[in-house]
């Protein structure tokens, strides 16, 4: 880790007094790590701490302090500080990896036994909630429809806004739009849900439906699409636009035929990432779609179900082992869907990234 700046001993010209300070051997950090983990676990076991979280924290502390002290003895304080920083960064890395890996592994572990053909192809209609059986077909269908409709609304709007900002936007309006797009990214999903509720359901008098959920999801999706599309359009080299203008092509045609096709890979990626993000939104769907146990394939009429809301209901309403099992199954399907979308999106980004933009 720390050998980047050192030069092999024999390659150094030996002139006058020694120019190199004492260095610890390369294997010191891993050795200190192994030692402190052993001691940490020992202390944890000896003190009878049941929680492995504590064992880990003790080991981490020992690693930081031990590494610093050893290095300070041999190499001096500056090097010791450097090593300390390195250790802190590694510990931060491990601290982050543990919960994130645990989350993924645990979900797969719990969900894999639940997901099968029956689970994917059946709804909860006629299934006793507190008992076994049932599936997520209605939720899957609802999620796909709601997200699809939201994308149909948000993608064109977001795209047009981005085009406005990059190609036309000058002056105060553009500045305001840029600022509010950024701010809109941070609108909590539950607030978007409340807004649609007050506008669509209370003021305009529509009832619960998949579509009203889509409206709220679209609000969450638009700013993400605008941001990513904007970045991509900025990467399109100006030479392309100028060449097009020089040939007498009008601006709107230049945008539609030259600029957008050049950036289409990145735009697709952005839209897919936005889709992945809204697929997992629970809060707005919960208040607008309302949840149904049966298959409702019409998103414009009546309550529907969606995957995140299904998980929520299985956890909080059913609230027993059968419910948890179904919740984990649905969670696994949801994660697989979202991650798959992410991977495909990034694949597209790599495959069709605009080159020579800088």
């Amino acid at each position: 880790m720390t050998t980047m700046t050192t030069v092999p001993e024999d390659a150094r010209p030996q002139v006058g007094p020694r120019l190199t300070a004492n260095r610890l051997p390369r294997w010191t950090p891993p050795a200190v790590a192994a030692g402190s983990i052993a001691v940490g676990c020992g202390i944890g076991a000896a003190a009878g701490l049941q929680s492995h979280l504590q064992w880990g924290l003790i080991s981490a502390l020992l690693f930081l302090v031990g590494g610093y002290l050893i290095s300070a003895q041999v190499e001096g304080r500056r090097q010791a500080k450097d090593r300390f920083a390195t250790s802190v960064v590694w510990v931060a890395f491990i601290l982050a990896v543990v919960p994130l890996v645990s989350l993924t592994v645990y979900t797969v572990q719990q969900g894999i036994g639940v997901v099968n053909g029956n689970f994917l192809s059946h709804s909860m209609k006629g299934v006793i909630q507190s008992g076994p059986g049932g599936g997520i077909y209605h939720a899957l269908l609802g999620t796909l429809q709601q997200v699809g409709l939201a994308t149909l609304i948000a993608a064109p709007l977001g795209l047009l806004t981005a085009v406005y900002l990059v190609e036309y936007g000058r002056g105060r309006l553009a500045k305001a739009v840029t600022f509010f797009v950024d701010v809109m990214t941070g609108v909590p999903s539950i607030v978007a849900g409340l807004f649609i509720l007050s506008l669509w359901n209370l003021a305009l008098g529509f009832s619960y439906s998949g579509f009203s959920g889509s409206l709220a999801l679209a609000i969450l999706m638009i700013p993400v699409v605008v941001r990513s599309t904007e970045e991509m359009l900025k990467l399109v080299p100006n030479e392309l636009r100028e060449a097009s203008y020089a040939l007498g092509v009008p601006k709107w045609k230049t945008i539609l035929r030259i600029v957008l096709p050049t950036a289409i890979g990145g735009i697709t990626t952005g839209v897919m990432l936005a889709v992945a993000r809204i697929t997992g939104e629970t809060a707005p769907v919960m208040m607008l779609v309302f949840g149904a146990d049966y298959i409702n394939s019409n998103p414009f009429d009546g309550p529907q179900q969606s995957l995140p809301m299904y998980i929520w209901q299985q956890y909080s309403v059913v609230n027993n082992d059968f419910g948890y099992a179904r919740a984990w199954g649905a969670a696994l399907v949801l994660i697989a869907f979202v991650m798959g979308l992410n991977l495909i999106a990034r694949g597209i980004a790599r495959w069709r990234s605009p080159k020579g933009g800088h």
Partner: protein, 325 residues
């Protein structure tokens, strides 16, 4: 790209007015989309304010200082004191844990990790940013909470004297501290992703200059990387804060809600804006719904301020930091 060039030489025959009309339509379409966004933002504030006004006129308590939330009672009383407190405290705990760790991970990816690990790991972090919050919630409730017991009693035992970690009631750790930890895990990927991008943009020359002057790697990071990245770190943290403040479902799953306002963060109970809305919404009556809208409006304004501030910081520093060079 080349498809339109054959048409270009014939441009002379074409009346220029055609293209101008097309341009105008297209430009107005694009501008209309931009204006629509502004309208939506204004409408969110407007509609929520409208419903809130209706609720507040029926309120018999002080909206800011009342602890109870009984808007559907014959004599409606509701206030956001507990909710505002819980929201801010849990978000602060999340920030205290997440920001240093996220900076550490970002540095790990950009400066410490061997190349072979760094790239896939950066990828992994991005993927984890996409894990839906309900899944975090489920994991928090069924996996994290049972594992928090030991840590909670440990903190109570050794840090109980700080008041903050004094556990006055025993029970499952469905408290603000656990919520804070869960939120920290949830906002880690977004803070990491943004700071990593900034660290990566630090001019190579700055770093090499520091190293050439004999700085150790840490000294190089402290003198070259962190000062350059500071606006990026601040804005990344504020984006994370915005998420933590507005997080709904994970909090609703993990926290056992009550209307007690207490700085003993290990005691089960408390509430946040978003969690309260999610839990109370289903059984809320007319006035209850409007009251929830009022609390939603407060949440909206808070996140608006936080995000707006973050953006202004980035925008102000952008000109000379070279962050988008």
């Amino acid at each position: 790209m080349t498809s339109s060039s054959p048409a270009a030489p014939r441009g002379r025959e074409r009346r220029p007015r055609d293209s101008r009309v097309g341009d105008k339509i297209f430009m107005n379409l694009a501008r209309g989309a931009g204006i629509l966004l502004l309208v939506i933002m204004a409408a969110i504030a407007g509609f929520l304010a409208w419903r809130s006004g209706m609720a507040l006129s029926n309120n018999n308590g002080n909206f800011l200082t009342t602890f109870e939330w009984t808007p559907d009672a014959p004599k409606p009383v509701f206030g956001i004191a507990v909710l505002a407190f819980g929201t801010i405290v849990s978000a602060l705990i999340a920030m205290v844990i997440a920001v240093p760790v996220a900076i550490g991970i970002a540095l790990f990816i950009s400066h410490y990790a061997p190349r072979r690990i760094a790239q896939p790991f950066a990828y992994l972090v991005d993927l984890l940013a996409a894990v839906p919050s309900i899944v975090y919630g489920l994991w928090g409730a069924l996996f994290l909470i049972p594992h928090m017991d030991g840590l909670t009693s440990w903190l109570n035992q050794y840090l109980g004297w700080t008041y903050l970690f004094d556990q006055t009631r025993t029970g499952t750790p469905r408290n603000l501290f656990t919520v804070g930890i869960l939120l920290a895990i949830m906002i880690l990927p977004i803070i990491t992703a943004v700071s990593r991008e900034v660290f990566r943009q630090v001019p190579r020359m700055h770093e090499e200059a520091a190293l050439a002057l004999g700085a150790t790697r840490w000294e190089m990071i402290r003198t070259a990387v962190l000062p350059f990245g500071r606006p990026g770190i601040i804005s990344a943290s504020m984006l994370g804060l915005g998420r933590a403040l507005g997080e709904t479902i994970a909090v609703a799953v993990v926290l056992s809600a009550n209307s007690v306002l207490s700085l003993h963060i290990l005691d089960a109970g408390g509430g946040t804006f978003a969690q309260n809305i999610a839990l109370k919404f289903a059984e809320a009556g007319n006035n209850g719904r409007d009251a929830l809208m009022a609390s939603g409006l407060v949440l909206f304004v808070i996140t608006l301020l936080v995000n707006g501030a973050a953006r202004l910081i980035i925008a102000r520093r952008k000109e000379y930091s070279g962050a988008n060079a």
